[in-house]
């Protein structure tokens, strides 16, 4: 099953709508709640990353009986140093973003901790693509 969502940069009021809808679908499929939790955490972080850092992006979710594959592609500044961005506590988020409760520097590490497969492709000045895979069993 394929689901797709569009994400607008800077639109914090709608951040989380993709993860919320995917959560709904997984619940209706009776997926183990602990697995759903990992999907929600990873996807929510990734979604907020697009909102906080990129101009716009899209999320494609592919659900099969073995698991969920999430592909997030954004048009944005890209990540100059992926190694640094994967360090817990490191953040480039603006003061404004931090004041809204985002940007604690846990985004990418948190996604990684909650997924079975996690890869980043990024081109500085162009954008970032994430591939997140979480298995159901």
């Amino acid at each position: 099953m394929h689901l797709e969502f569009k994400v607008e940069g800077g639109d914090f009021s709608n951040a989380g709508s993709a993860s919320s809808q995917i959560k709904r679908v997984l619940k209706q499929l009776n997926i183990d709640p602990s697995v759903i939790k990992r999907v929600v955490v990873a996807l929510y972080e990734a979604e907020v990353n697009i909102v906080a850092h990129a101009y716009r992006g899209r999320i494609d979710a592919y659900i099969s009986s073995s698991g969920i594959v999430l592909k997030l592609e954004d048009e944005g500044p890209g990540i100059p140093d992926v190694g640094k961005a994967m360090t817990k506590g490191f953040s480039t988020a603006s003061k404004e973003v931090r004041e809204m409760g985002f940007g604690a520097g846990m985004g990418l590490p948190n996604i990684s901790d909650n997924s079975d497969v996690f890869t980043i492709d990024t081109i500085v000045g162009k954008g970032t693509s994430l591939n997140i895979e979480i298995k159901f069993r």
């Binding site: 099953m1 989380g16 993860s19 919320s20 959560k23 679908v25 619940k27 209706q28 499929l29 009776n30 997926i31 709640p33 602990s34 759903i36 939790k37 929600v40 955490v41 929510y44 659900i63 099969s64 009986s65 409760g101 159901f136």
Partner: protein, 446 residues
């Protein structure tokens, strides 16, 4: 709709002879557990959480509460009634508690006890629990909320506080007290007067590996009428009733909104009303809530003052309770007695989620069915009119893929098929009758 064998004890049933199939109940059910078929509402029992929203809405009182027959109290020599503070608040202030208690004695009870007597000792246990538990802790007080979490928010089940609600602790206290008097167990009947339908199911099939010592549940709406009638008829007092009214202001306020949360340390929220509770639980499940320690969630607006079996206006009841509380001290005299026994017996075991099988238990099949349902939803008008006998277009799509409804049940598609000449008018009427009943087009006399 196919009704599955019930696996959970429930407190509500629809009386077919009275149901007019108006679908009002179907529209308010928070778990979409109701459908209309052959002109009558049907409950999907495994999805029902006994919140009683349907009961509140039903214009013909066709939803029956499966409470215990009152005469059952006389099977016991000692008949204790556990009375919630919300009961006294059903009456106007000029009817004294003494008079109400006398009448309760006259009606057959030998002892009366305030349900919320256990609050004073419970609150210490709650604070201790909250300090050590997964946050935010969801209060286990409201049975409809506990069941809502089990059915709709299975991932949050571990957040439910695994401490027994006050009613069970008070009942246990009585069990012990009478055992100490040397009274045989079978002679003691403990009855709970409930403002809440959820409590009926909660007492009969409690969560968390526990068996309740309560022998029966009395419907407060029914009992209010009985007491008020006796009051109006000025019945004489001929019997003695023991009144154990040890209760603190904390206890009286506990069942009102904020009454529990304000006693818990840390960052707490009190949220009442089914819709507000669901909205917040969605956010919590989405990991969008941070730093909250305790959640007092109550299904009814104004908490138990707005209980389903409550008769008087909820705001007047809440005011009455606040007023009564202001006359009481912060702690009552039996608190040390309660504390002696409290912590050993009030912990529950793990609470299990009660998942709703929406599409299929088999995941591959569930995905196929869900995709079909999503496809169907694109055909349906999306206005959730309910003319198909399901609460929403989404629910109809689910029912169709599960072969519990037909695509032609949608009145919009039916009209379209008629226009195309694919469906005859007779067939269309037949479908309407199969959902809304044969006599639906007959003019009714109100």
């Amino acid at each position: 709709m196919k009704l599955e064998q019930t696996t959970y004890n429930r407190a509500l049933e629809i009386v077919n002879d009275i149901c007019i199939g108006c679908s009002h109940c179907m529209k308010v059910c928070p778990t979409e557990a109701l459908r209309v078929s052959e002109g009558k509402a049907k409950i999907h029992v495994d999805w029902c959480i006994d919140c009683g929203e349907c009961y509140r809405e039903c214009p013909t009182r066709a939803i029956r509460v499966m409470d215990d027959d009152f005469s059952r109290i006389f099977n016991y020599t000692h008949r204790v009634l556990l009375v919630p503070s919300v009961f006294y608040a059903q009456f106007s202030d000029n009817i004294t508690k003494k008079r109400i208690n006398d009448i309760i004695g006259e009606l057959g009870f030998t002892e009366i006890c305030a349900v919320e007597q256990s609050i004073d000792s419970l609150i210490e246990e709650e604070n201790e629990y909250v300090r050590n538990a997964v946050k935010p802790v969801i209060s286990s007080f409201c049975p409809a909320v506990v069941r809502l979490v089990q059915v709709r928010f299975p991932s949050l089940v571990e957040n439910i506080m695994r401490l027994l609600p006050p009613i069970e602790i008070t009942a246990q206290y009585y069990k012990r007290k009478y055992a100490e008097y040397g009274i045989p167990d079978q002679e003691l009947g403990i009855f709970y007067l409930t403002p809440c339908i959820g409590k009926i199911a909660a007492v009969k099939s409690p969560v968390g590996g526990y068996t309740s010592p309560i022998n029966g549940v009395i419907n407060m709406d029914y009992f209010y009428n009985k007491v008020y009638l006796a009051y109006k008829q000025k019945i004489p007092v001929t019997k003695e009733v023991v009144v154990n009214n040890a209760i603190s202001s904390k206890g009286v306020l506990f069942p009102t909104t904020g009454g529990e949360a304000r006693l818990i340390e840390g960052k707490t929220l009190s949220i009442d009303g089914m819709k507000n509770v669901i909205d917040f639980l969605e956010m919590l499940e989405n990991e969008e809530v941070d730093g909250v320690d305790f959640l007092e969630l109550r299904a009814c607006d104004q908490s138990c003052a707005g209980g389903i079996l409550s008769h008087r206006n909820r705001f007047l009841i809440a005011e009455s309770m606040r007023n009564y509380a202001s006359t009481l001290g912060g702690e009552h005299e039996l608190v040390s007695d309660y504390k002696k026994h409290c912590s050993a017996v009030i912990h529950m075991e793990k609470i299990e989620p009660r998942s709703m099988v929406k599409y299929d238990k088999d995941l591959d099949l569930a995905i196929v069915k869900m995709e079909k349902a999503r496809e169907l939803r694109r055909l349906f008008p999306g206005i959730d009119c309910g003319a198909c006998g399901a609460p929403s277009c989404e629910a109809l799509a689910e029912d169709v893929v599960k072969e519990q409804a037909d695509i032609n049940d949608c009145i919009f598609l039916r009209t379209l098929y008629e226009k195309r000449g694919e469906l005859s008018l007779e067939e269309a009427v037949k479908i309407m009758e199969s959902i809304w009943g044969k006599d639906r087009f007959v003019k009714r006399n109100y």
